[in-house]
């Protein structure tokens, strides 16, 4: 009965499984047909967003409705970096990550003082404000967007988003399995009591919001890279806020495997519906209904529910 110290945690089956899957993807992708490559890039973008939101909403319980704001910041950072500063795309992604983190820390300093639904509403309002402010900036295309002549670079895009996802999974595992994991569970459960046992709740929340903003910004930058353009509608797209939430709610908020499962469940219909004319536009309705059902009947998502009802799997998935 030992209190975990800040040491490198022991590895678990979920982490092994995810690591193996990512290694296979990393090795196999160059040999896949181009259609599959594009599919995988788009899928990993969803995975990247899911893990990014999981840091704040999954681990601390603070529901951010405005997370697409950081995608927009990342997208415009990439666009501005390439168009204005002559950056290569990868540097643009780093810029997106840096600005995403910086804005998240700035926004978090104020908004993380609100709790529950007030936090959710504030993030949503900030998103709406940003969506209207950023396109007004003349250096960033004044609402007309920024078009980048990047050509088709699927492998560079793939490995960038692949690396983002790998880092996210590793970091999620590290954060949840150390002493910080205990502190986070305390905050999620009862923030005031967490403080009275010595958890520096403000700092922990702000760090996670910063990390979350960083990865969302980086992923948003890669998304803009795949579109080779940044437009106000694709940069600041509220449906991505909703998809991010849907993914972690469906998969299991705060878990290691949940965001990945959620990304599969949200991405597959999203992608399939876009190819069938009569279903076009219905994907959000289907995902919305699914989220509603899960929130009502199995609020802990797939991972939480399986762990609860299938005891022998408890050791293998987390």
């Amino acid at each position: 009965m030992r209190i975990p110290r800040m040491r490198f945690p022991t590895f678990g089956p979920t982490l092994y499984g995810l690591a193996l899957l990512m290694v296979v993807l990393g090795i196999a992708t160059p040999f896949l047909p181009i259609v599959a490559k594009v599919q995988l890039i788009n899928f990993l973008l969803f995975v990247g967003l899911a893990y990014a939101l999981n840091f704040i909403t999954g681990l601390t319980g603070y529901v951010s409705f405005g997370h697409a704001i950081f995608m927009g910041i990342g997208a415009y950072a990439l666009g501005g970096g390439i168009d204005r500063l002559g950056f290569p795309p990868l540097l643009g992604v780093f810029l997106g990550a840096g600005l995403g983190a910086a804005f998240a820390v700035g926004i978090g300093l104020v908004t993380l003082r609100f709790r529950g639904v007030y936090f959710a509403i504030t993030t949503l309002v900030l998103f709406l404000a940003a969506k209207n402010i950023v396109p007004e900036i003349s250096q960033l295309g004044e609402g007309g967007g920024i078009f980048m002549n990047l050509g088709f670079q699927p492998l560079a895009q793939f490995y960038t988003i692949w690396a983002i996802v790998v880092i996210e999974i590793g970091l999620t595992y590290w954060v949840t399995h150390g002493r910080l994991g205990y502190g986070l569970r305390a905050i999620k459960s009862d923030e005031d009591v967490a403080k009275t046992v010595g958890v520096n709740a403000s700092r922990l929340k702000l760090s996670l919001f910063g990390i979350s903003g960083m990865f969302t910004g980086a992923t948003g930058a890669v998304y803009a890279w795949t579109l080779s353009a940044v437009l106000p509608e694709t940069g600041f797209d509220i449906t991505f806020s909703l998809r991010m939430l849907a993914m972690i709610i469906i998969g299991g908020a705060g878990t290691l495997l949940g965001p990945f499962l959620g990304a599969i469940i949200v991405y597959v219909p999203y992608n399939y519906f876009q190819t069938v004319q009569s279903l076009l536009g219905l994907q959000l309705a289907v995902i919305g209904a699914l989220v509603l059902l899960i929130a009502l009947f199995i609020p802990t998502g797939i991972v939480g529910t399986v762990r609860r009802y299938v005891p022998f799997l408890r050791r293998y998935i987390e």
Partner: protein
């Protein structure tokens, strides 16, 4: 060991405490009694740092901690069990205890303290793997006190330890509190159950409408007539 010096505090525009001064002596049990809404819990929140006073000073072991954030206080040796226990309901009893040892002060002695807590409350050893939300009221109170003890405190702050417990359990918990004091711990608690609390405490404060109306060694306070007047605010 702990002094409150002319504390004013409240929530927004509502002032709850007006110039409250009190002290807890090292190695003693101090109890604050009084009717609902007298400001007893607010005093404890000022001590744990969850409420920042608008006036006055909190001094702990000769250090002014008035402005110290709540999360830095356990490291000094201030641990609390809030009103209604406020355990982490979805985490097991044992994880709740472990969380009590979050600070280095608690962590370095965690194994030994855990054993101490289990010896103090043998029932908890059997219930270690049960989610805190599923424990009985008495067991939850034991986890609450145990969690505070895991921080290796020099002062233990208890908010209504008898709340919602059957009379038999109340005397059991109070006996444990006396046992802790014998081990050298300073205890400061708030109680509605004034009579029972004053019987185990060394020093008492009676509060009414955010002010201390009477204080002294508990044997002087155990005048039932006076207590009744304080509670019902008659005469």
């Amino acid at each position: 060991m702990l002094q409150l010096d002319h504390i004013d505090a409240g929530y927004g525009p509502v002032q709850v405490l007006g110039s409250v001064s009190l002290a807890a002596q090292e190695g003693s049990i101090t109890v604050i009694v009084g009717p609902n809404g007298a400001g007893k819990s607010t005093i404890l929140k000022v001590i744990t740092g969850l409420v920042r006073p608008t006036g006055g000073h909190v001094v702990f072991q000769e250090r002014d901690i008035t402005a110290l954030p709540a999360h830095d206080r356990p490291a000094l040796g201030i641990a609390s069990c809030p009103e209604g226990r406020r355990l982490f309901p979805l985490l097991t009893a044992e994880t709740n205890l472990r969380l009590g040892a979050y600070t280095p002060r608690g962590r370095n002695a965690a194994d030994a303290t855990m054993e101490y807590v289990y010896r103090l409350f043998p029932r908890l050893r059997e219930r270690a793997g049960v989610k805190a939300g599923r424990l009985s009221g008495g067991e939850q109170q034991m986890v609450g006190i145990g969690r505070a003890l895991m921080a290796k405190p020099s002062i233990l702050i208890l908010d209504e330890p008898s709340l919602g417990l059957a009379p038999k359990l109340v005397s059991e918990i109070f006996a444990k509190i006396q046992e802790l004091r014998k081990g050298g711990l300073t205890v400061l608690m708030v109680e509605q159950n004034a009579y029972a609390a004053l019987r185990i405490a060394d020093f008492g404060y009676v509060m009414q409408n955010g002010q201390v109306v009477r204080s002294g060694p508990t044997k002087d306070l155990l005048d039932l007539e006076a207590l009744r007047r304080d509670y019902f605010a008659t005469g």
